[in-house]
Subunit: 224 residues, 2 copies
DNA sequence: TAGATTGTTAATCGATTAACAATC
DNA sequence: TAGATTGTTAATCGATTAACAATC
């Protein structure tokens, strides 16, 4: 694209990439993978944006944070862009995951096929229930929570999913952080705190419904 | 607070409330409910903000979209603010929900205690599997998907949770919309489209992990 | 070449923060 | 009264969109 390569095109963007951009990147990836399955070779920013409700300018700007992936007059090549986005997100190699808490939600996550398809692999599960420890669920071994310090480094697990009841969540977070994880996805409906070097993402299912409730009672009209 | 009431203080905010504000409102509610359980009477915007990593100004501004709930020199009264936020979110009365799709995730959601505690109640479940239809899970009756048109109006269900495989999600959405639901929470990892008068919220579990993966590989330092 | 589409700059829009008079 | 804290305005910051030269 630009004649000679001068400065390496923003190798891995360092902290100035808005979170919303990364979030849309995941959506682009999902659509692109579907397009790829459907046999599409290329796609324009206008088409991709329309599928997701974004402007063409936004699609191009988002991608431009990470380099020049498009071809003027053509668009983006689907296979190439899929590979690029996976590389940016860090999901080009499968991450081993730990799941802590094997209640209804934890077991559902443990068997969730979507993870496997997107570059994640549940490597270990933890609980405190003696009836579960030592067994396997969906082929995944269940360890006692006390074993996180041993198992997590051993399996080189860097990401943990917390699916325990709210009152236990902070203690579990402390334990997995001590064990060396770098990122936590928290499903417990409580605010937890972790050291700054640890990444934290939270999903609260009741909150998602509250957003919906608000939108419905206020009859918000979406789009324009 | 302000001497004589002049214009009714922004009754129910109409469309100009940013989505991010509503999202934080849910977080405030969750913290306030915890504070209430712990016996706190009042809380200042500074304290509440600190708990969630927001500025005091943001807390006050967010709440001010909906009225004047605070007391200068005192702060906010926890029980009062909890009631107000529930009213704003529309969760002061329990919404009956439908869950479509009783795979691992659907069944986990069906038994999720968090919903009950936040003003939601699963009233019906739907699936296409003859082995599930007619039974009950967690005390909730399971109907065939073909019965949505009949059951949803009958139980006055306005919100539906979609937890079916991606290829089925759009058809299910169409069906529940025809049945009259006003809002959909979609867990299928695919973009679905609905008429503008229907509210749509999406949770993609793999995308949440991708956000985490990006943050970890780019060693983002959170906060300042 | 003509048509399509990118990457990027500048303009616009919106959201967050700082500051402070009003209030308890 | 002095101290604390709100609600709100103005200033700042950041993100989205429009526009267009460059490119295939």
């Amino acid at each position: 694209m630009s004649g000679q390569q001068e400065k390496p095109p923003e190798q891995s963007a360092d902290g100035q990439v808005p979170k919303a951009v990364v979030s849309r990147l995941s959506l682009y990836l999902r659509e692109l993978q579907r397009l790829l399955r459907d046999g599409h070779e290329t796609i324009s920013s206008t088409q991709l944006g329309k599928m997701l409700g974004f402007t063409d300018a936004q699609v191009r700007k988002d991608l431009a944070y990470f380099g020049q992936f498009g071809y003027p007059g053509i668009g983006y090549r689907c296979p190439e862009l899929v590979a690029k986005i996976k590389e940016i997100l860090g999901t080009n190699h499968a991450w081993p995951l730990a799941i802590v808490g094997l209640g209804n939600l934890g077991r559902a996550l443990l068997g969730y096929r979507g993870f496997t398809h997107q570059g994640f692999r549940v490597a270990a599960a933890f609980d405190v229930d003696a009836a579960k420890v030592g067994r396997q669920f969906e082929g995944i071994p269940v360890y006692h929570l006390d074993q996180v310090g041993e198992i997590i480094p051993q399996l080189q697990i860097r990401l943990a999913i917390i699916a325990v009841p709210a009152p236990a969540a902070q203690k579990v977070a402390d334990a997995v952080v001590s064990a060396g994880v770098d990122g936590i996805l928290n499903f417990a409906p409580v605010t937890i705190t972790v050291p700054k070097h640890v990444q934290l993402e939270a999903v609260d299912l009741a909150i998602e419904l509250e957003q919906l409730s608000f939108a419905v009672v206020n009859k918000l009209s979406r789009g324009e």
